[in-house]
Structures are given as structure tokens and as C-alpha cells.
Symmetry: C2
Subunit: 395 residues, 2 copies
């Protein structure tokens, strides 16, 4: 995190509020000096945590403007009697201390579901939290939002727009309950560019689709997943139409960097797996194939065992729902052709086993035909560590 | 298996043909003395093994009649250069020795994908296999078709029809790559009732839907899944219209008994988990909810850890795609109400943890509303043993 480029006009803070048992900061705040344009994508789970419901409402009421993000770890504030009240009380108390309208505060929570979250733990800790706000405490927040994460996850970029340079910095948390098609876990992207709320929405939707929606750890999806983009114009550089693609590219890269860090840190994971699909009838079909391979426990355990079991890869593609001719499938693992035209290729098995033990594994699923559909997904291997972590998370 | 009631007119045999490394019978034959009516359901995977393709073709050519089932374990005969030829050669050789048309032989294979299966291993072993056919070797076949299964799986029933008693006996194999909506793994149901091919198809479709399509071990689906029903009329008792429901019920029970044995023997599993959903808007929605809960690695690892984490259950239901109001959900685990109206109920956690350590776990997901949709699913817990088995299956 030493090389992070931070956008101007944001301050960060974290404290230990006593929400999680382990004495490690569990309440964090990101505050913008100006009112920022804001957009967010949320979980599509039918069961939505109170802070998700309230953040969505606040963004509607404010017309896509926000001044602060208030996050706690250790309790998801979901499926509880007092959930809505706790989220509202916490947001209100933070707004008062920050002297902003409550609709400009976006609350987030992560942790266990179904356990009451005592609002006073948050309100009691808030004065110290706000007093601790500082431009250089970005990494403290990245650490405070961690749950089963082994490492904090951050990324940043500088982009030269027509009007001058702007900066993007992001942080994220999550290592389980991650599944494509979701905003997934918690992620916060901040920029000092001047962007309208409408453009924030467009930019975030595209970045999310190509990053968080393309990773999978265990196929489960959370009740709390949230990804937020804030743009506070502290640089004084507005995003012009001609800058749009350049900025989109930079934002997507930061989001992809964060998302792949999640896959790499998947619960119990020892390897980052990148899945490239090409030659599908459509991009949608390519996404179906890549997602099904990425979610297959049999593929993921084979990678954990450095087993070049391409039969499981083609079998997973076969039940993805995508249309393709199995006789036109080539599969390349770590640069070696293992399946040609749907049949076993003649490959050096010992060499491949060796390459599969590397920290990063790449599987290319190529359809030979007229299709131009492609997609890229990221996942991790599935080890005994995943079971150990998840068999005893709550108790 | 001591209490099995076997239908008349079938003989069974198994030998070691050298297909699997371990010296354990790997080639088996089920032969009917009369030409039997036959129906089958096969995998819906796009990638289909050669014996699946050939069996489907044989059933079409014969108009739903079969005399024998030839099964090998140790090699799936899938995604190989010589697959079609090997399956055809094996079926032809068996037909010749049994003196039946080749279209009356249904081949099946299970084992590793993408490795050539030498047809001569089968043709060389066939004379001994056919010579060994005997009415009392049912359990030898049940054992020969095992791969990672820890125990052979059989079930039987006797039904009193209007015309007299008939018998149903079934055997199955499978402990991984099991997913609803598939014929799943290998299963063979034999009866000595007199049933038309058309009725066989109807009976099998219903039995399959309520048994094999309602179990899940890891969400993966195989390239070889096959479930066959043979009805050889050796009892001389025809299935009349008024017998239909009674026979259907008995056949479904045998299929459910076999399917739950698969879930119970799931790779690395320590517990059988039954999931009951009720009060859904439709049976389809109930199936969606039950399937998603059954497939959730987070639910399955929680059960492995005897962790009463009902939050994972409601969260899985939430991303199932079914419509429901989270505030109308009650969840009962092992007889204890853990979630009431979508919120934590006041339950004796220590008592529940104790009950969750029992060999069988039941989760009831009840929607309080106007819906009458219901479904029952079976799955197993997800332990470190699953990873151990699947990380080194091929190598």
C-alpha cells in the first residue's frame, strides 16, 4: 500500500467500537470535504441487510449525492429485530457530528447475520471516530473493514484528463460468499474528478460488470454486498465527454485489481485462477461458460491438488447452459494444450503438474467456430482451509 | 442387503477386466431372460459420454426394449478419440454372447474423463462375465459399479397389484458430481411386472423427478449420468390402470431410497441433510429454494461444523430466484425454531449444536402466506474429506 495515490478531499478514520470480539478496529468512516456525486450497486439477494436498504433510500433522497460512508465489521445488521433502527440511528449520529444531512451518509455492515447490533456501540464510538479523521488514514479503513480477509485490499490510479490529472483510489473487503452477478462484498471507490451523479452510475455499472461480477469464491451471495463510487471534484477537473472512455478504463482497472485481490484471498485459497473464454456464440454465452467453470467445486479442488483434470473443465462448460459443440473445444492450462477438439491432447503431464503449483493459474477455454463471444473470470482454488474457516465461523 | 427382494427373470455378473488400477471387479452385466420394456433418463450435460449417446440410440431403435445393461467402472469413456467405437464394440460383443440384437444392450461407463478405454479389455473379459451370470449375484454388480462410493447402494420393494405381487429392485452408484436436474450418476431399476415401454417412461420420469433430481452433493453434473428402468414381465402380472398409482409410489420410494443413499455417501460427507420447503408460491419456487440451500457451500460447511447458522440458509434462499417475503420466513432446524418471521428466534443454542451432530439433519424452510408450493431435497455436509478426495482423484 506504500505506492497508493490518494484523491484530494477525503479523510478516513477507524476505531474499535466493541462490535467484534477480537480487539481490532471494527468501525470506519470515509468522509468527503465537499458533497460528492455518488452511485452504488447493491446485492440482488431477496434478503437485504438494513444498511443496504437505508443506503439505497439515502441515494434516492439525495439524488446521488453523499458526504460519508460509515462501515462496521463484525455484524451484518441483517435479519434482526432492531436492524432498521440501528442503521438509522448510526447514520443520524454520524451526520450530526459531520454536520451534513443524514441522507448524505451511506451505512454499510459486514459480519454475522441474525445477531442484534447494539446501536449504542456505534454512537458511543462516533465522536472519537470523527475526531480521528485524517487524509492519511486510508489504509486504517481498509484494515478495519476486514472480516475473514487475510490482507487489506487497495488499489489506485492517476488519470490525465483534458483539464488535468485526477486520482482514483479504492478499497475492498471479502473472501467468501462471493458470486458473479452481485455487487459483492464491500467496495469503495473514491475519485477527486468532477463527475455528475448520472455519469457516476454509468461508470460504476460498467466497472462492476467487468470486475466484481466476474469473480467467484464459493458461489454464495451475501445479504450486504455493496460497491460505492464517490466523486468529489476536489481536483477541480471535470470529466468531459472526450475523457469518458479513458476514465472508464482506469476505473475498471482499479475495480478489477480489487476484485482479483478478493479472489486471490478467497477463504482457504492458495491460487488465483483466471478463466478466459473465447469463440463463444455471444459474450453472454462466454460469461455462462466462464462462470460455471469458476463455480465448479470439482474444477476448484482439482486446481488445489495441481491436478490437470481438464475433463472437469469441459464437463462444467457442458452444464453451463451455453450452446456449443463439444468437438470444437480447445483447452489450454498454464500455456499447455490439454484438450484439442474435445479430446485429450498429447501434453507433458509432469510439466503441467509443476506449472499448476504456481501461485497463478490460467485456463483458456477456446471454441473454434464463428463466434466472437469472450469473457474473463477470476476465481480461486478450493482447499481444506475453506472448510475449516466456514465450519466454525459463527460458533 | 440381506433383505433384498429380487424380481424374477434377471441374472447378474461381474468380473475384473483390468480397467481400474485397483483389482476390484470393474465390469458388470445385468441380463433379463425375456426382452424387457425399457426407459432411461440421461445427463443433460452438453458433453455426453459415448455410452450415453449409444444407449439413447439403442432405445430409439428398439422402441424401448432391452435385454441387458453392460457397465464398466474406472473409465467414463468420454472425450476420447475411440469412445464411440469402444462402446459399440463392447455392446456388439455382449449382444453376440447373449444372443440378442445389439440394440437391446445398453452400455454405461463411469470413471475418469479423457482417457482412452481399450475395447479389448472389455471384449476379452466378456465370455467369463456372461458365463458367470446368476440370479443371486445382484450385490456383486452393485459393488462393481462403485467408484469413490464407500458402500454399495441397493433397495427393493414388493407391490401387490390386482393380478398378484410384483417386485422392484434397484442399485445405484455415485457420491460426487451430483446435482439436481440430472439423471445423476448410474442407477438401475428392475421389475418383473408387465409394463409397456410408454408407461415405463412415465413411471421413470416421475420417480426420477422426486428422487435423483432432488439430491445434491456438489452441484456438478456428470457427462455419464444414466438411470434405467427395466420391466420384464417375468411375474406374468401386467400393470393395469388401477395399479398405476400404487406402483408409481413404490417405484418412487425405491428411487428415493437409492438417491438418499447417494447423498448420505457424498464424498467426505458425515451427515445426510433433508431440506423441506413449504408455503412457497408454487412447487417450482419451492424447488428453487430447496435446491439453492442444498447447493450452498456455506450452508453445507456450517452443517459439517454443527453450526446453527440459519443466516446462511435464509441468505441462500434469497438468491435462489424464487419470489418470497423475507419477513414471512420461519426456519426450523432439528425440530427447533431458529428463525421466526425472518428474525432470530430465541432457541437453545447448546441443545441445537448437540442435535446438529446427529447423523441426520433436517432443515424446514416455511413460508407463511397463501402459497402451497412444497418440495423436499436431500444433500450432505461439506467436509475437508471432500477436498481431499477431489484434489487427487485423477493423479
Amino acid at each position: 500500500m506504500t505506492n497508493l495515490i490518494l484523491p484530494a478531499g477525503y479523510r478516513y478514520a477507524s476505531v474499535y467500537a466493541g462490535i467484534r470480539k477480537k480487539k481490532q478496529d471494527d468501525l470506519a468512516l470515509i468522509a468527503s470535504e465537499n458533497v460528492a456525486s455518488a452511485a452504488a450497486v447493491f446485492t440482488r439477494n431477496k434478503v437485504q441487510a438494513a444498511p443496504v436498504v437505508l443506503s439505497r433510500k439515502h441515494l434516492e433522497l439525495s439524488g446521488g449525492r453523499a458526504s460519508a460512508i460509515l462501515v462496521n465489521a463484525g455484524n451484518a445488521n441483517c435479519a434482526t429485530r432492531t436492524g432498521d433502527k440501528t442503521a438509522a440511528t448510526a447514520a443520524k449520529a454520524a451526520a450530526k457530528l459531520l454536520r451534513v444531512p443524514v441522507r448524505q451518509v451511506l451505512p454499510s455492515s459486514t459480519g454475522v447475520i441474525g445477531v442484534e447490533l447494539d446501536a449504542s456501540l456505534i454512537t458511543n464510538a462516533l465522536p472519537k471516530l470523527v475526531a480521528g479523521l485524517s487524509a492519511d488514514r486510508f489504509s486504517d479503513v481498509a484494515r478495519a473493514i476486514m472480516t475473514t480477509d487475510l490482507v487489506p485490499k487497495t488499489s489506485s490510479a492517476e488519470v490525465s484528463l483534458e483539464g488535468g490529472p485526477v486520482r482514483i483510489a479504492g478499497m475492498t473487503k471479502g473472501s467468501g460468499m462471493i458470486q458473479p452477478n452481485m455487487a459483492t462484498t464491500l467496495g469503495y471507490l473514491m475519485t477527486d474528478a468532477g463527475i455528475s451523479p448520472v455519469d457516476c452510475k454509468r461508470l460504476l455499472a460498467t466497472a462492476n460488470e467487468l470486475s466484481y461480477n466476474r469473480i467467484s469464491v464459493d458461489g454464495d451471495t451475501s445479504t450486504n454486498d455493496t460497491l460505492v463510487l464517490l466523486a468529489n471534484n476536489a481536483s477541480g477537473v471535470p470529466l468531459e465527454d472526450r475523457d469518458f472512455d479513458l476514465f472508464q478504463e482506469a476505473l475498471t482497472k482499479v475495480a478489477q485489481d480489487l476484485a482479483t485481490q478478493i479472489a486471490r484471498d478467497g477463504e482457504g485459497a492458495s491460487r488465483l485462477v483466471t478463466i478466459n473464454v473465447s469463440g463463444a456464440a455471444s459474450d453472454e454465452d462466454a460469461v455462462k461458460i466462464a462462470r460455471t467453470i469458476a463455480n465448479s467445486p470439482l474444477v476448484k479442488t482439482a486446481i488445489a491438488g495441481a491436478d490437470p483434470n481438464w475433463g472437469r473443465v469441459i464437463s462444467a462448460a457442458g452444464y453451463s447452459g451455453a450452446e456449443f459443440d463439444p468437438r470444437k473445444v480447445d483447452i489450454v492450462m498454464q500455456g499447455l494444450l490439454v484438450c484439442k477438439g474435445g479430446l485429450a491432447a498429447d501434453f507433458a503431464e509432469a510439466e503441467l503438474t509443476k506449472r499448476l503449483k504456481q501461485k497463478e493459474v490460467q485456463i483458456d477455454f477456446r471454441l473454434r467456430g464463428k463466434g466472437t463471444g469472450r469473457s474473463r473470470f477470476w476465481t480461486c482454488d478450493f482447499t481444506e482451509g475453506y472448510i475449516r474457516i466456514n465450519g466454525s465461523y459463527r460458533t
